[in-house]
Symmetry: C2
């Protein structure tokens, strides 16, 4: 069976998982460190989504490492279907979270006649958090599409 880079158990897949973990963690840190993020629904949603992405990518990254160095597991289509659906679901959630966080930050900067609703220092951290969630969307989508492309050869 020919190897497709980016599918479960390859080094490219491990790199994608690492990217997901790094960007989701930095999004969580930018949002949570010394900031009251729970006053707006979108920010709570972003925190929830990246808290789901981190363990998911950690588990699959560990599976990639195990598969690269210890032993190659049998490739069952059922496992691939679960991974593709999970990746795609999380990628949509993180795209929606990034878009809503970015637009809410934009509105908060624009509104507020006397003084803005969020100080510029805090708002820039919201924007950074949205950008990191956007990057983790990109990596999740890449994982999902590589596995989806490989799936028909297994069936």
């Amino acid at each position: 069976m020919e190897e497709v880079p980016g599918t479960l158990g390859t080094s490219a897949s491990f790199a994608l998982r690492m990217g997901q973990i790094i960007f989701a963690s930095s999004s969580l840190l930018f949002m949570c460190m010394h900031i009251q993020f729970y006053s707006y629904t979108s920010f709570c949603y972003l925190v929830t989504v990246v808290s789901l992405i981190i363990p998911w990518s950690l588990i699959l990254g560990t599976a990639d490492l195990y598969s690269m160095f210890v032993e190659r597991p049998s490739r069952q289509p059922g496992i691939f279907v679960v991974i593709i659906i999970g990746d795609m679901f999380l990628s949509f959630l993180s795209l929606a979270a990034a878009a809503s966080t970015a637009s809410v930050t934009d509105v908060l900067l624009m509104l507020g006649t006397e003084q803005p609703f969020c100080p510029p220092r805090v708002c820039s951290r919201y924007q950074l958090s949205a950008a990191m969630a956007f990057l983790s969307w990109f990596f999740l989508l890449a994982s999902s599409l590589f596995n989806l492309w490989f799936l028909p050869t297994l069936l």
Copy 2:
């Protein structure tokens, strides 16, 4: 070559295109009719995205109709790749637009100490518009995935 329902030229694909046109048009109408939508970036973004979706789905729906009733065109992989990429791109844009519109409406309802930034009648129309954009995302994604599933049999 076996027929996959939902791929270009089938009646299921035509139904999906009709759904995309109907939901994108209703999203545009809810956002534009007698409302100043251009005061917030997210609302302008939503209008731009659904204005892209409508002609795209109209052209591909016409191609489906032609293929069903007049003559079956040759199925070239290149055309499928263009359609898959276009559908996926538009589906991501519309998901982001729906999420940002919904969250901005939520913030506008919440903020505003003396009187809300948007009257409840107007805000409910923003929410309806976001919901319609969300539904058109779902239909675009379905079109894209059906065609992507069919692509490897053409190569």
